[in-house]
């Protein structure tokens, strides 16, 4: 496993997988076939009495202690070597910080650009620094065979390189609560030039500003903008709707207005929409951020 020839994390893991999987398959088939053969050959209908009362053989035992030992030692060695190549980040890797929270991702780049998707240039190694704001999450890229837990208070990292442009799944692999399975996004691998262009692009337009803030704080992990119900109610058509909420254990029906939304963001436990778990953490948005979010939500029909 010469690092110089190593093209990607996938190349580091897959051969190990093939080796162990193959060896296991051979063993399994061997054991099954031998067992089935014995069962058929020595079935009581064919062998009414046992033709041997042999109860052991030291040589055989030695063979099947030593050979498996050698085999598993080989498995251990390749497994360990492959793991090391996941840990050693190639020099000159692009550094990105992934911030995980219940239940959304945010990726920030050296120049301050942030994004809910992980944009990376094709063919360049990327080192992802993993930061959690609350509980343990998991950074999982199946296509690149990369996984690392995101533990609050720890400086974990992972690296990978995308050799082909495209969109790859990114999952949260460590169980983190209600929205765990919704905590998914993608890696967008762009050709180097396109990536540079994306990186320098300033997020546009005041009219989308509210949307960006929702994205930044991870609200969209639980609330959709298109009407689908996720962990929390959807934002679409919310303004002006009448909903039943539970306030201090009492149900009441209200009409969604600015005051209600403001309270729901700053103090989510106060009124909880009926049918949804009371799990949203409070978000301390700055006044102007709150303003543009409310304006944005108002327009989201």
């Amino acid at each position: 496993m010469n690092p110089a020839r190593l093209m990607s994390t996938t190349d580091a893991i897959d051969p190990v997988f093939m080796f162990i999987f193959g060896a296991c398959l051979v063993l399994l088939i061997g054991i099954t076939v031998v067992m089935l053969y014995f069962v058929v050959r020595y079935h009581r209908s064919r062998a009414p009495v046992a033709t041997s009362q042999n109860d052991g053989n030291a040589w055989l035992e030695a063979v099947w202690i030593v050979l498996p030992t050698l085999l598993v030692l080989a498995m251990f060695y390749y497994g360990w070597a492959g793991y090391l190549s996941l840990r050693n980040v190639p020099a000159g890797a692009l550094e990105v910080t992934a911030t995980a929270r219940q239940w959304s991702w945010s990726f920030s780049y050296a120049n301050g650009r942030t994004s809910p998707k992980l944009y990376v240039p094709v063919g360049k190694a990327v080192k992802v620094n993993l930061v959690s704001l609350d509980v343990i999450h998991g950074f999982f890229l199946p296509a690149f065979r990369v996984k690392r837990d995101i533990v609050p208070g720890m400086k974990n990292y992972a690296w990978f390189v995308a050799n082909k442009a495209g969109s790859y799944d990114l999952f949260c692999s460590q169980y983190c609560g209600t929205g765990h399975s919704a905590m998914i996004t993608t890696v967008e691998a762009l050709p180097a030039a396109a990536f540079e262009e994306w990186l320098e692009k300033v997020p546009e337009g005041a009219e989308h500003h509210g949307h960006d803030i929702l994205e930044k704080y991870g609200c969209l992990g639980c609330h959709s903008e298109d009407g689908t119900v996720k962990v929390g109610p959807s934002f679409k058509g919310l303004w002006g709707k009448s909903v039943t909420v539970v306030t201090k254990g009492m149900e009441r029906t209200i009409t969604v207005d600015e005051a209600y939304l403001r309270r729901s963001i700053l103090e989510p436990g106060a009124d909880v929409v009926k049918g949804f778990p009371a799990i949203m953490p409070p978000f301390a948005l700055k006044a102007e951020e709150l303003g543009s979010v409310l304006a944005y939500l108002k327009g989201l029909k």
Binding site: A12, I13, V16, F17, I20, F21, C24, L28, I31, M35, F38, V39, Y42, A47, V49, A50, S52, D55, G56, L60, W64, P68, V72, M75, F76, Y78, G79, W80, A81, G82, Y83, L84, L86, D134, V135, I136, G138, P142, A143, R145, V146, K147, R148, D149, V151, P152, G153, M154, D169, F171, S173, Y175, G177, T178, H180, S181, A182, V229, V231, A278
Partner: protein, 547 residues
Amino acid sequence: MNSAEPVERGFWNDTGTTGISSWIFSSDHKRIGLLYFYSTFGFFLVGVVLGLLLRIELMAPGRTIMGPQTYNALFTVHGVVMIFLFIIPGFQGSFGNLVMPIQIGARDVAFPRLNLFSWWLYMAGAVIILTSLVTGGGPPDTGWTFYVPFSARTGTNVSLAVFGVFIIGFSSILTGLNFVTTIHRLRAPGMSWDRLSLYVWSLYATAWVQILATPILAITLVLVMAERMLGTGLFDPAKGGDPLMYQHLFWIYSHPAVYIMILPAMGVVSDIIPVFSRKPIFGYKFIAFSSLAIAAFGSLVWGHHMFTSGMSDRAVMVFSFLTFIVAIPSAIKVFNWVSTLYKGSISLEAPMLFALSFIILFSIGGLSGLILGAAATDIHVHDTQFVVGHFHYVIFGGAGFAFFAAMHYWLPKFYGRRYAEKPAVMAWTLMFIGFNVMYFTMQVLGMRGMPRRYYDYLPEFARLNLVATIGSWILATGLIIMVVNLFRGLWWGPPFSGNPWGGATLEWSTPTPPPTENFLEEPTVTHGPYDFSALEREVIKTGEETA
């Protein structure tokens, strides 16, 4: 009890008292064994229904029958029930209690009243866990692993559930020390260590794991409660704690715990295979010793659950290495079981079918464990459906199928009645097929990257999930047939007496069902547990007597 032929009732009739109190206050190991059997098997059926609901939810992407919070609570409760209420207490408590004292020629366990107390503790823990589902913030939603900081923050009723598990841990400890003392002190004359059945050997090894590992779980759960109720912050990074230390402590117990689940199962299989092959077990000493080796090395490998956690690389190396070492004693067992079949006279009755399928299912599970044990490959499949497949293969395909084998092999002995053979074989066939359809598919899903504990998934995983769900229905059909057939047979079936399987261990030399103190007179042991030549002489002798 309306069968034509009269059935001897043994310990069922021996005591003066009758009714429920002659059971729940009895210190007879056989009655306690049956109490354990019915309570653990009852919880198994509860867990099974929950598992089935999980599969229905996963049948198609998106919301199928429940919301995410319900799903999360459901797999947590499924895991907790299956692990702590079924498989850990199940084997030791029911078949350990029923069979072990008889197999060593004792009248009872060393501390009969402590034994009863263990059951009561178990029930108390179970009630507390059930209470936690309907009180406070609702059923816990942390996964059976209770990882902090999530378990310290969630609003659900984690504290109470954890307390229930704590109580059950206590029960497990007491059973363990009872069994170790029994095996050391109460063997009948002539029952030397090399004449113990392999089932007793495996229970002995298991009991040690219970004694040496369970206290760590107990203290860990106390710490979780303290974390939630007192804010001790030992695992909270904001207060200087380290979440990974929780994981260490949890797995220091919970990895050895998987051997609490599998060792008795291996013991059952080691007992059944020679009987149905009419041939001594191959490599007795190696199998007995490998049980101890599994118990010993099993305590050294817990870190393999933490390869992606951010643990030091050196620890990854050490734990990966030790994980591979612990696979070797299992390999020894598998090879010896298969060799026992060679030149035997094999009869494929229900217990044997379950035992043989145990070998295959356990091998699939165990070999997939090797993929998890190698650091590089575990990174890819950790926390995916592959792990879910792995442990259902070893727990359900391994321990579960061996449990079913034990049910078919030993329960008739204690009821004096038996089930019908044909439906039993049919049930086995369905279960074996359904099992593989479901869990093999889940392993493939895992290799393709579908994470575990996912309520919803991307469309690319839809087809295989549907297949897995269909597998669960086949499995369910088989299980229902098995349960109905077995219990109908035990309660109303034809009589079962003497030694129809032809076993050479001591339980087959007492009347069926055994009398209260197991033996009419204290047995003196003159031959090994798999010495069928000794047995044949006895069979002929008793045959003459009855003729």
